[in-house]
């Protein structure tokens, strides 16, 4: 007996994604070929793998048809519950965010003139001039000071 069968699938009842789902589940059990059929139909050709008996193949065809229904129902439920699922995910992600107090945004608010590390203070003002430096000596000579030693 030939282990090959063509199934015509109505595109309105079973969209391509549904046919894909059913085909993917059965790819390891039989050979699946999908083509366009007549008006609004997909033509799905199933062929048994070597060693597949006629009885096993008939069971496979039945399983494929059941899987089509299963996938169609899954798609329908997925479409109906999409908003609820999106809401649940949004809520879960939102609740995972840290509270606004923990973000540390308030700590960064400050005056741009604040200089807690003293970066804006000039070197001379902060540390003064070194004693005995050439500049200091010139100043002393100009003012007429003498070394007491």
């Amino acid at each position: 007996m030939a282990t090959e069968k063509e199934i015509l699938v109505n595109q309105k009842v079973y969209p391509l994604d549904v046919v894909f789902g059913a085909a993917f589940v059965n790819l390891d059990k039989c050979y699946v070929f999908i083509d366009k059929g007549e008006k609004n139909q997909w033509k799905v050709r199933l062929r048994g793998k070597p060693g597949c008996s006629a009885k096993e193949f008939n069971a496979l065809v039945g399983e494929f048809e059941n899987e089509l229904l299963n996938q169609a129902l899954r798609a329908q439920i997925a479409e109906k519950t999409q908003k609820v699922r999106d809401l649940i995910v949004h809520r879960a992600l939102f609740s995972a965010l840290p509270a606004s107090d923990d973000l540390g945004l308030d700590d960064e608010v400050g005056d741009y003139l604040d200089d807690p590390l003293g970066i804006a203070i000039p070197w001379e003002e902060k540390f003064g001039k070194e004693e005995g430096s050439p500049e200091q000596a010139q100043k002393k000579e100009g003012s007429g000071e003498e070394d007491p030693s």
């Binding site: 391509l16 085909a23 993917f24 699946v32 083509d35 366009k36």
Partner: protein
Amino acid sequence: MKVELDKRVYTLTAVQETAAQFAALTDTAVTSGKKAITVEFRSFDEELGPQVVDEFLNYALAESISNRG
């Protein structure tokens, strides 16, 4: 032997990837048309015979489904 694959079902990338994977088993030529991708099987592995074509089509379908996500 030539097989036409509907572009709504099979993607060109998937078919080309499949052709590359099956290069050791069969010599193929892949051409893309407006609505269909044509795969010409020029020679088969002697042990496997035409079964290679079925395996090729299964692989291409799996790849196409995976590519679509």
